[in-house]
């Protein structure tokens, strides 16, 4: 049994009162004392940028880091759809309770109830805050805010700014951050990558970074460290993430003792433009809204896959989602739609290059509504599709395929968003707590801003108040040793001078994870992958070729460090997937399904958070469980037939 007991620190009282109770009882740092503290924030997406700005406003001294050349480029910027909030502006029966219920059910009952309730409670404030800072949300003619509907909800609670909601929210955060930079409370360090976490007497007290322009290895100390470094979807190589997204910050923290929770919970989005060749570097999402009018099909017979879609008659087509899920049809939820597409492709009935694609056909919609209406609804998406594929989707069906999109797992945090390492706080996609085994659309933006604007600024006081700004100096041996280890690792990467490029390794582990820890997982496959990861790690550290020097801008070196961490982390994902002998949300184990092929959850044995502890190189990680307790929600099975 584990030596660690995890205390989620969920406050007492009824679900609806917990957050108020917590705030009333939490410690404060007085305005005069705040300036004695220094805080490190790594990452400038919605979570990190907002947290850094608020800490600056409150009077703390903040050092903020990002790997991009500007904080405005964090990958939150790419979110299209919108942000949920229980405002009930539409008078359609929305409420905090309903948003809470939808989110917890969407997560397939694997998130922490109290955290999700708080998320729903603060959601409305986020919209107020964003409007105050000038986010140009869509409006109705009367000047009021407009809403739209999203998956997993029966109300209209999604706020949006055209198809660029993430961009506008992030630019709002960036402007607030810029305000604090001008006020001198936040010192921004762009093009800096965090390469290690420094612990002093068991507390997180700093980080080691590499200046990506000069190659300089620097130590930074603080009273607390906040990681807002996003998700690890790029472990799969191909994903909708930005090229630079990586797991290094959270993985390095894991190696220093922070527990990594539910790493196998990854979200595969059903409607992306399929892979067209070996050279492909990223996958582009096509909005889920297309499924309102597009019919998804593949040929019934393998032999027809090479034919032009127009040469395949109606009776030879298999509209597999409509066939399997007659009541939801083409609007079946993300995990189910993704898995079904994979199944038909595995049967050899996929279309397009490599047979990894299914058709999304608008012919019926065009016949029913006319091309103009379809153009009005989806014109920009059809244009985007044509730009990328060179095909006109008004004439021939789109080809789509699922792609890795979001990672629900992350570093374990308690109700205060503090990891098991005192002084280490984790927010946004980088933590695990709010989305369980599956995230609903328009909830990622909500969580990032909730954590940074309205949760962490209140919860961090309990840790900071007793310290009175007594952070250690970077001259301490703990910092020097961490720096030395970072330098040593870089030297090693540059000295291998092998034969294989970094990308070739990244592609190899990406494919391995996609095959064995993607949309369908099996005991046998996961065990095989875990063994294979050992070999790949060995191969990497003996045959990788990284050119150039460490003391300059060196993109191959940056990538090499990240891929080295993805190799070790991929193995952890498989370990987690192997332990979880059930199917839930994005985690589908082929051994655990109903006779109809639906996910079979096991609440009796797996109603817990899997938190993994690093035990040393080459050793299996140790599982620490946080049992879940639900007070306000009854567990239920999801059915979409």
């Amino acid at each position: 049994m584990s030596t660690i007991t995890l205390d989620p620190k969920v406050p007492a009282g009824p679900l609806a009162d917990k957050w108020t109770n917590f705030k009333t009882a939490s410690k404060l740092v007085s305005p005069a004392n705040k300036r004695r503290y220094e805080l490190i924030v790594v990452g400038t997406g919605l979570a990190g940028g907002s947290a850094a700005a608020v800490f600056g406003e409150q009077g703390y001294n903040v050092k903020c880091f990002c790997y991009q050349d500007s904080p405005r480029r964090a990958h939150s910027i790419a979110a299209q759809g919108g942000i949920n909030a229980a405002k009930n502006y539409q008078n359609d029966g929305d409420s905090v309770d309903r948003l809470f219920m939808d989110t917890i059910k969407g997560g397939d009952f694997r998130s922490r109830e109290a955290n999700v309730y708080r998320l729903a409670q603060v959601s409305g404030r986020i919209i107020d805050q964003c409007v105050a800072q000038g986010v140009p949300f869509a409006r109705e003619y009367g000047g009021m805010l407009a809403n739209r509907s999203f998956g997993g909800a029966q109300v209209s609670r999604t706020f949006y700014a055209r198809g660029q909601t993430g961009q506008q929210l992030l630019l709002g955060v960036y402007s607030e951050l810029s305000h604090q930079i001008s006020a001198g409370t936040v010192k921004m360090h762009p093009r800096h990558e965090m390469l290690d976490l420094v612990l002093v007497d068991g507390h997180a007290k700093g980080i080691v970074t590499r200046n990506m322009v000069t190659g300089e290895i620097e130590s930074h100390s603080a009273d607390a460290v906040i990681l807002a470094t996003g998700g690890y979807g790029n472990a799969f190589y191909l994903s909708t993430n930005a090229m630079g997204c990586n797991v290094t910050a959270t993985y390095r923290a894991y190696r220093r003792g922070a527990l990594f929770a539910n790493p196998c919970f990854t979200q595969i989005h059903p409607t992306c433009i399929p892979v067209s060749g070996e050279y492909q570097s990223k996958l582009t999402l096509m909005s889920e809204s297309l499924r309102n009018d597009g019919r998804v099909w593949v040929p019934k017979r393998k032999e027809d896959c090479g034919k032009k879609p127009s040469d395949i008659p109606e009776e030879d087509r298999d509209y597999f989602l409509e066939r399997k899920y007659p009541s939801y049809g083409n609007l079946a939820p993300r995990d189910i739609s993704s898995r079904s597409a994979k199944e038909v492709c595995d049967e050899g009935r996929g279309v397009g290059p490599g047979g990894l694609g299914v058709y999304m056909d608008f012919a019926d919609a065009i016949k029913r509504l006319g091309e103009n209406t379809v153009r009005e609804r989806y014109g920009n998406l059809f244009e985007m599709y044509e730009n990328i594929t060179g095909e006109n989707a008004y004439r021939t069906p789109m080809r789509i395929y699922p792609a890795v999109h979001y990672t629900m797992g992350g570093l374990w945090v308690d109700y205060e968003l503090q990891s098991n390492i005192p002084g280490l706080f984790v927010i946004g996609e980088a933590n695990f707590s709010d989305h369980g085994a599956n995230r609903l659309g328009a909830s990622a933006l909500m969580q990032g801003l909730a954590d940074g604007y309205f949760v962490l600024p209140y919860t961090i006081g309990n840790y900071l108040a007793p310290l009175r700004g007594t952070r250690p100096e970077t001259a301490r041996p703990e910092f020097k040793q961490a720096e030395e280890e970072v330098r040593e690792r870089i030297k090693r990467l540059l000295s291998i001078k092998g034969t294989r490029t970094v990308d070739s390794f990244h592609k190899e582990i990406g494919k391995l994870l996609w095959d064995e820890c993607g949309m369908a997982r099996s005991k046998e496959g996961l065990e095989k992958a875990i063994r294979r990861f050992d070999e790949i790690r060995e191969e990497f550290w003996t045959t990788v070729r990284v050119l150039g020097d460490g003391d300059e801008l060196n993109q191959s070196l940056e990538k090499a460090g990240r891929v080295a961490d993805f190799i070790e982390f991929g193995q952890l994902m498989c370990e987690d997937a192997l332990d979880r002998n059930e199917s839930c949300g994005g985690h589908f184990r082929v051994e655990y399904q109903t006779p109809e092929g639906e996910a079979l959850r096991n609440d009796e044995d797996y109603f817990y958070v899997s938190a993994w502890k690093h035990t040393g190189d080459g050793k299996r990680p140790e599982l620490v469980k946080e049992p879940l307790h639900y007070e306000g929600v009854k567990l239920a099975t999801r059915s979409y037939k």
Partner: protein
């Protein structure tokens, strides 16, 4: 497809660079421009030569990290960023010139990577609404006419890539600055600071060494976000009024 590339190579800190001739052979026509560069870089690495450094991140046209000048056009031919450009748009056998953005205020860091921190400093000089996170009034308390919100959004769509300044014969950042001044100044929430904002941002823009606008509209032609040059006219008016007010009123 095959291409003959002339790629700008510049060592870090050298201040000088040259075009390197590279052959890009057997490039799939469906590859994006950056994927073509990935292939070239992989081959360079295999041949023991240092790969070409270039900025890129989201590869879906929104982060604004792309900063390539392709055949003399910032962000390349067609609407959108370089990452949204596909090789089938080029002719087989074509010679393609690839350079960094050419603006004095964006010094080259290495190869195709430039330093655009000047844009961040311009935003820091006033491109925000001074409000404090906490108890903002309800989001629907102040109505914003749809036309105003939509117009503000046209400006807010700017991705901060710097193509506008790179395309301008004067190296002017006016479209970038005008986009932020326009976005915030149009909204009721941004009005209280409008005068201060436009004066602060323009002063910083001048300080960074960007040129002035003389109505070439090259910026609008290359802007991947389609920000209209009309915002520049609006900014000029806002700036003139703000400066006049500042001269006569201590409060402006």
């Amino acid at each position: 497809m095959n291409f003959h590339l002339k790629i700008w190579r510049q060592e870090e800190g050298s201040g000088q660079g040259t075009f390197q001739d590279l052959e890009a052979k057997d490039i799939p026509s469906e590859a994006s421009f950056l994927e073509m560069l990935d292939i070239v870089n992989d081959r360079l690495t295999e041949a023991g030569e240092e790969p070409v450094a270039f900025d890129h991140d989201c590869r879906e046209g929104i982060c604004g990290a792309c900063s390539l000048t392709i055949n003399g056009i910032p962000q390349g031919p067609g609407r959108g960023t370089a990452c949204q450009l596909y090789m089938r748009k080029f002719n087989d056998g074509e010679t393609i010139y690839i350079e960094p953005f050419r603006v004095g205020a964006f010094p080259v860091v290495k190869d195709l990577v430039v330093n655009r921190s000047a844009y961040d400093r311009i935003i820091t000089a006033g491109g925000f609404i001074s409000e404090r996170c906490g108890n903002a009034q309800d989001a629907n308390d102040t109505p914003v006419p749809k036309t105003v919100a939509d117009y503000a959004m046209d400006a807010a769509a700017c991705i901060g890539c710097g193509a506008c300044a790179a395309a301008c014969p004067n190296g002017s950042a006016m479209l970038f600055v005008a986009a932020k001044v326009g976005h915030l100044g149009l909204l009721p929430q941004g009005k209280p600071e409008a005068n201060r904002r436009v004066r602060g941002m323009v002063a910083q823009m001048d300080k960074e060494g960007f040129g002035n606008c003389s109505n070439f509209y090259e910026c609008e032609a290359v802007c991947p976000a389609g920000v209209p040059a009309a915002f520049i006219a609006k900014m000029n008016r806002d700036y003139a009024l703000a400066s006049a007010r500042h001269a006569v009123e201590a409060t402006a």
